[in-house]
Amino acid sequence: MATITAPAARKTAPPGILARPAARKLLALAVLAAILTPVAVTQWPGTAWPTALTVDVSAPLGRASDWIIDNRDSHPLFLYFFGHVSNAVVVAVRAVYLALLAVGWAGVTAIGALVAWRVAGVRLATGTAAAFLACGLLGMWVPTMQTLALMVVAVLASVAVGALLGLAAGLSDRMDRVLRPVLDTMQVLPAFAYLLPVVLVFGIGVPAAVLATVVYAAPPMARLTSLGLRGADKEVLEAVESLGTTARQRLLTARIPLARKELLLGVNQTIMMALSMAVIASVIGAGGLGDRVYQALASVDVGAALAAGIPIVLLAVVLDRVTSAAGERLGEAGTSPVTWLYALVVAAAVALAGRLAGFLDWPDGWGLNIAEPVNRAVDWMTAHLYSGVPVVGGTADWAAHFTSGVLNPLRDGLQWLPWWSVLLIVAALAWLIGTWRTALTAVLAMAAIGVLGVWKPSLDTLSQVLAAVAVTLAVGFATGVAAARSDRFERLLRPVLDVFQTMPQFVYLIPVVALFGVGRAPAVAAAVVYALPAVVRITAQGLRQVDPAAMESARSLGATGGQQLRQVQLPLARPALLLAVNQGVVLVLAVVIIGGLVGGGALGYQVVFGLAQGDLATGLVAGAAIVCLGLMLDRVTQPTERRTTRKGA
């Protein structure tokens, strides 16, 4: 599980000090607004973004897309560059896939278990073996191997690219200044936005899927590598330097070994993000488990979708636990090469035995059909909970109320606001929470949306995000507080959160449709469920990290539990709460976009439309707007201290 490390620093500003700079900022903004607004109003009246300020990019984009399709098999750029990239990916994925098939299911399970045993201990080794066997039992062995093959290649490439970028950023301050904002931004973008550009160049298929995954999964590796190199103990480095070592020796013998914890954390993050992307990339022909989920959803087969979803979750949990356990074990005594040798020999023996015994393909008879009972449960749910439940009303009624009572007013309100006032609000919020720089970025991102000519759908998407974030925060903070106050509750919650954080987003979509019908309400519901675990986690972690001394002194002053929470814990945990808001916003946006598949409309629909109709101009414009929206939302909610990691979204 990708954990989110809340900022450790606990400095807080008493309200008195904060008030003055805030007032100064608002005053400056008011002056600026007083000068610019009259100009804007007289020049471009009306509430929507003025058409005079838009640029139509769809025609040139359409021409570019046509040109690429027509020249893909003849232009040198494709023949000598992209063609080789694409070919290398195909050859690599194929090699891994064939190797996995050649080892057979018995061999793969044994090797997985033994590797887990060596790096993470006996418990995880049994877990790994059980997970692989479960994939087979669910009838998903071949798709699992396809996903695994794709993952292996994508993760290796991501780690290599990420480590190189991180090395550059870690060693050179100038590179760091250039790369940091780019990497920061890449981390907050919804996965969906990455799909279109690669499809434009590579077409549908595995190469595009792998490359999208690499682009998506490399940034955390780069960030953490750079962080690790920069965080190395200065004294140790000085000591090494005084020994007269060269720069290269210092890097190889001191700085990289000192940063290995961060490096492993980076690998862990990269794996998690690659897995979630590999599933989403089924939309562009990645094949494997994600494709099975996608196919099952086409016939409203929640059971079959779950049968493919469970292996994804199992893979995720196993990979996460094993890599993070490997990271924790680093400090202990090094594992001796002899046991590794034993492990290797045993694995080879099992693989060979499996081969001789014919245990290559998963046996046909060994299957568990979970699809039927799951579908029966879903049918029961729709039949009994959908509407007409006495007193509380059915879920469809709730959805209708939510749409007409919350989403519609919110959307109409946002679209009613004059465009310049939206920019002003964005500026004010971003400046209050962050610096003038974040405020400027946020305003420019919002303006870019207008210039692209997708102002209205973007505000529609924004209204969904706001509604979903509000619900997420209300529920998330309440649960987080409860988890922070009760150890037992947190222990109960932990596995639930783990599973929810790794489920592919696709699987959420159909049950919410079954419960809430089609429209924006189910998209919002899916987003809430998806973002909730991260918010709960960060809140609970932040509250628990509050200085025990402060709590002790509050208790000794006779504060009640509620008073402690309100007056000590919550104010002291303010950075963590802000981080929770930021994470919530970013994760909600990612799923609201995918909600385009269940009637969420707006930008998500345009991306889906672009992919589905091969109309890349529409899709790319919407994708760019999503990028801007993500940037704006992130900057507006950006806490003072930057997080180092995040969950794969």
């Binding site: 893909r72 064939l98 094949g287 959908y386 519609n408 089609v518 009637g599 091969g614």
Partner: protein, 318 residues
């Protein structure tokens, strides 16, 4: 220092060898999962609707059990599937609803795709209301009277107008233009995927609520929720030429198969089998219903159909 340079050079050379020196045409690269372990593999494109799954399930079953192929299926949307077919990442599309622009580009100009003949099923797109609603209000089946019922068909999503439910953005649709050009008091609401649309329609049907939906035949849902088509202004050749100005019904389309050109030439028995593959609307519906409504696995449904229709598929085998 020296050994490292050598190894870098060796690596580069190995990579060059591996990927082949000189030009690499990415439009000629097959799926990495194809032809694993020497098996003869066919990759079929499955579109998201169940009828297409039925075609593929039966073709896959026969290819695997009668001709000894290994079949991979990939779900791709309609238009991107043409691109994938042209690149050889899939070998065949078994059910195409008419994409003149792609046909011109890939079949006529680039010659990377060849026509594979009729599927035997005739498709038709239209606007449908549930039959229970049409019985109650017989005049709803003419588009001229639709405005009368806009109030009844209003939902939270349609913003004061009647709701015309549309499905996946990947499907062929003129509905936005139709609503505008016919001056109807309706709002097109896209469910976003066919799965979402079907779920929604079944919910309406369960409560006997009225709805108006973009739908098509053959479709298995017709058997579960009987629907009646709303008459739109009749289709005439060329009336849908300009997507912005369409004001007529959808045409009747004989569904087509398409094969990758290289596969058609070198695909041997598989290619011939796929060219021969034709069946009727009833046949397809039988399999679709088993998959979507009885929740059978596509392969089981195909097996059941194959067992009882030997005379139909015997003719397809090369």
């Amino acid at each position: 220092m020296r050994p490292r340079t050598t190894s870098v050079l060796a690596g580069a050379a190995a990579l060059a060898l591996l990927t082949g020196c000189g030009a690499a045409d990415m439009t000629q690269q097959a799926s990495p999962f194809a032809n694993a372990r020497g098996a003869r593999t066919v990759t079929l494109s499955v579109q998201s609707w169940v009828g297409a799954q039925a075609n593929v399930a039966v073709a896959q079953y026969l290819l695997e059990h009668e001709l000894g192929y290994r079949v991979d299926t990939v779900q791709v949307d309609e238009v991107p599937a043409w691109d994938a077919l042209s690149q050889g990442r899939v070998d065949a599309i078994l059910e195409d609803w008419g994409h003149p622009e792609q046909e011109q580009r890939y079949v006529e100009d680039k010659k990377t795709i060849t026509a594979g003949g009729d599927l035997g099923v005739t498709g038709h797109i239209g606007w449908f209301v549930p039959t229970y609603f049409a019985k109650e209000h017989p005049d709803v089946t003419d588009w001229k009277n639709l405005d009368k019922y806009a109030d009844l068909l209003r939902t939270a999503e349609s913003g004061g107008k009647g709701q015309l439910l549309d499905g996946s953005p990947s499907y062929v649709t003129n509905d936005r233009a139709l609503v505008k050009n016919l001056n109807l008091d309706y709002q097109v609401v896209f469910a976003g995927s066919e799965a979402a649309q079907i779920t929604q329609m079944q919910q309406f049907a369960k409560e006997k609520k009225p709805f108006l939906s973009y739908w098509y035949t053959p479709q298995w849902l017709m058997e579960k929720v009987p629907m009646t088509e709303v008459k739109l202004p009749p289709y005439e050749e060329g009336c849908d030429a300009d997507p912005e100005k369409v004001d007529c019904a959808y045409p009747v389309t004989p569904l087509q198969k398409y094969l990758n050109a290289d596969f058609a030439k070198d695909g041997g028995q598989a290619a011939e089998f796929l060219r021969n593959f034709t069946w009727t609307t009833e046949d397809q519906n039988q399999v679709s219903l088993m998959i979507a409504e009885k929740k059978m696995r596509p392969q089981e449904a195909a097996e059941k159909w194959v067992d009882s229709h030997r005379s139909v598929w015997k003719k397809w085998l090369p």
